[in-house]
Symmetry: C2
Subunit: 361 residues, 2 copies
């Protein structure tokens, strides 16, 4: 249980440091890297969003800080208990555990969940540990199948023997052990229906790969699972999305990280992932012209917005896609491939694109 002791140690040090300051009769103070937008930068060298060098401090005898200071230590205490008991909680659970009225006042430690959520992010920065290592889990979502055997919570699980459903991905994958991986690559897709298509076609078996899906935005659990397989087992990862700005963004979050979680730096990013989704070139190549969907206003403004993001604005291949989407005034869904036959995606489209390394970086 490496994480456990690491996390416990980090929280203990946090407490000890404050006690030391109090004993020296100082105003107890915490200093940590600022998480605001003004301190979020895209670092092209590591191909990841990260925090800059600005710091903030929070002290107890400061009217503007006192409550946040108390919140920080109350949340840290709740987390310390979770770790001690070997239990995990959701953000909502932590909120309810921290929510109490300060004795002989009418003031609550927290009134809204956003307050405890922010403190948990602060603690990620302060301790240099992720929420998951601090036993605070994100959403559970997604399914996975492939020639992989893992160990988790005392069970040995073969991802190749789970029927039509697959393994349900937990919110926290830190303690999973990979016992055997027999796969050449991973395909992550944004749509569970496409995953069911590939699974029914035994695509993962025929192509010797792993297929994984969530539904819409990629959860932290899935991002960490992908990252662990990429880093620990050198597995290439291909992302299969719709041709629209939302698909491009889903891809970019897996690759470069997200603004909301920039403080995690490279802890969640996978610079080597490739985009395997529908491209503007695919539309002609695979005869999808009659199955385009007109861009709506949100699509158009989102294309404008993401083309200006640091990690897209110098990327010629993506800028070309955005330009073509605008000039076609259209987007296209993965499932448009079903117009060519229900298993066209498994039998033709994906094998061809993978064989030709027809990816966008």
């Amino acid at each position: 249980m490496k994480h456990k002791s690491e996390s416990e140690k980090a929280l203990q040090e946090l407490g000890k440091d404050v006690v030391k300051q109090i004993k020296k009769e100082k105003n107890p103070e915490l200093t940590f890297t600022l998480r605001g937008l003004s301190n979020i930068i895209y670092d092209p060298k590591i191909r990841s969003l990260k925090l800059g060098s600005k710091t903030a401090s929070r002290s107890f005898f400061n009217l503007a800080h006192a409550k946040k200071f108390l919140q920080t230590f109350d949340v840290a205490a709740v987390i310390k208990n979770l770790i001690k008991e070997g239990k995990h909680a959701s953000l909502r659970d932590v909120f309810y555990q921290v929510k109490r009225t300060i004795p002989s006042t009418k003031i609550n430690v927290v009134d809204e969940q956003t307050e405890s959520d922010k403190v948990i992010e602060d603690l990620e920065v302060i301790t240099n540990l992720s929420r998951e290592q601090l036993h605070v889990n994100a959403n559970k979502e997604g399914s996975i199948v492939g020639n992989v055997v893992i160990e988790d919570s005392g069970d040995t699980i073969n991802w190749a023997k789970l029927g039509s459903g697959g393994w349900s991905i937990p919110s926290n994958v830190e303690n999973i052990k990979f016992k055997k991986i027999n796969a050449k690559f991973i395909i992550y897709m944004e749509k569970a229906a496409v995953w069911e298509r590939l699974h029914e076609d035994r695509f993962w078996e025929k192509q010797n790969c792993i297929i994984i899906t969530s539904q819409g935005q990629t959860t932290r659990g899935i991002r960490r699972l992908l990252q662990r397989m990429y880093e620990e087992h050198n597995l290439p990862i291909y992302v299969l999305c719709d041709l629209d700005p939302w698909g491009a963004y889903i891809y970019s979050v897996i690759k470069y990280g997200s603004i909301a979680l920039a403080h995690l730096g490279t802890r969640m990013t996978i610079p080597g992932v490739k985009y395997l989704g529908i491209t503007c070139q695919d539309v002609e190549k695979y005869g999808l012209q009659k199955h385009l969907i007109k861009l709506n206003e949100q699509d158009i403004s989102r294309i404008k917005q993401i083309s200006e993001y640091d990690w897209f604005k110098d990327n010629k291949a993506w800028l070309q896609q955005f330009k073509m989407m605008k000039s076609m005034n259209s987007k296209a869904e993965i499932q448009a491939l079903s117009s060519r036959g229900i298993s066209f995606i498994s039998n033709v489209y994906l094998p061809e694109k993978i064989k030709n390394k027809d990816f966008i970086d």
Copy 2:
């Protein structure tokens, strides 16, 4: 493969009947039960929503019907192919498969997915089979754990040996075989985070039960899975939701069905399920008074709306809950129980409520 031949037969009959009409030089016509709101009734005897006796007909030589008539047979043809090939599709896939331009015209068979969706619902009524039996799957969502061994797609799966993730529930559960069920009851919960709590506490092992979750609305796959375990194995089902009108509705859909799927009648309903979620009485009994959340406008209007539904309006226990919510002007979440300790739900709340049969019907 009983379903398969049943479904194939139903579609064949549909085609044969039209051919017969054409040979008799009649205007080919389809007659089926009307699905509109005007024909949806709540039947207290079977405790389920169902369709009334009004029928509609659709004929080919009728300007208002011709397109729908064609759509019906085009969709039926796509489905017949799916069944023949042993494959399943999503609604979106069927839409793309049906979307084609009628030769030497500029008219598409369908332009929007809502058109093919409606035809699929028509076919459910016409053939008296469910979408799943017609190989058209709904959303995939949810996780399950318990002392159960199943067979699915050639794999034998033990739901008790799947680590922290559990089995990922497929969209279509028609072909699952239950090989061994060693459980006394089932708890279905609306929140995946609560499921992870119960699973980490090994609640299902200690209480010898099955725990199952989706996230928010219950998918058709989950409803059918619950129903099959209830009907084929006599397992009591308890539903664990937040105390708010949305939780009450999630419960009622599992029990009585939904307006949108009324044409399925008792095919998806489980009249025997009990509500085990937070009640107004629990608030005092378990000291949650400080953890109530104020009702917002949507909550208030939704309470008014659902208290008038046929299946709630004569139910004293539920009307009392709605009244108390309004007089407290508050709702309460399952996770409010975390304020009493992270495992209070597993160690105290649920065992006590189940032991005392403290349910709402």
